[in-house]
């Protein structure tokens, strides 16, 4: 699935997946989650108004966190299971 080891695997769910036009995307490696968010908002301006959290390798990021090459980074809108 990975095209380059220096990419990150971006996965999006719910309304974020709809906005990004798909659940999975390759994205060029960025330094940390704050920088990634800035890049995503630049590419998809509507993201600014949508509530979501970022998870790196399935752990939700509280503040900012570095991103390693090949990491799986998920964009998670508010949960609504149950």
């Amino acid at each position: 699935m990975k095209e380059k080891d220096t990419d990150i695997q971006l996965v999006a769910f719910g309304m974020i997946a709809e906005l990004l036009g798909g659940q999975e995307k390759q994205w060029p490696l960025t330094r940390d989650t704050d920088q990634l968010k800035a890049e995503l908002i630049a590419a998809f301006p509507e993201l600014k108004d949508l509530p979501f959290v970022v998870a790196v390798n399935m752990e939700v990021v509280q503040n900012n966190q570095p991103i390693a090459p090949g990491a799986q980074v998920a964009l998670l809108p508010p949960y609504s299971g149950g």
């Binding site: 769910f13 399935m58 998920a74 949960y79 299971g81 149950g82």
Partner: protein, 147 residues
């Protein structure tokens, strides 16, 4: 990813009443159980701006969801004297009146079962990455948000 063995909780489509009945029947051989507590989440035909929800389409970050549920299980077993615990959630289409969440907790005495059931359901709602899109008979839908 972290080496945990996480059990699959997902069921394609609704959880049937027959499946729930069979699940209850399987516990008759466990004669140290005195109390079962069960929670079922059912899809409501809510009205929104004059339109009525006909079904919910569920999606999940499956691998993370199973890890989270595994953690919830371990926490509940550590905190309460439980005999067993079963958790199932639907993926895909669940129509109004059908069941999308089934949580089943058993223990020797009722206090542990009641307390654990409620804690587990709250943790599932808060921490497990599952999304439901409320659909109308027309094609458009709106994303639910847990309270």
């Amino acid at each position: 990813m972290s080496g945990k063995k996480a059990k699959n909780i997902f069921v394609e489509g609704p959880i049937s009443a027959g499946f729930i009945g069979e699940s209850i029947a399987k516990h008759q051989s466990k004669t140290d159980i005195g109390a079962h507590a069960i929670f079922l989440g059912q899809v409501r035909a809510d009205e929104q701006g004059g339109r009525t929800v006909s079904h919910i389409d569920y999606t999940a970050y499956e691998e993370m969801a199973m890890q989270k549920v595994h953690g919830i299980r371990e926490e509940a077993f550590a905190a309460h004297p439980l005999t067993c615990m079963h958790i199932y959630h639907s993926l895909g289409t669940v129509r109004a009146g059908e069941i999308s969440l089934f949580v089943f907790v058993s223990s020797p005495h009722r206090d542990a079962a009641f307390t654990a059931l409620r804690e587990i359901v709250e943790m599932i709602k808060a921490d497990v990455p599952i999304w439901g899109k409320e659909m109308f008979d027309e094609s458009e839908g709106t994303w639910k948000v847990n309270q």
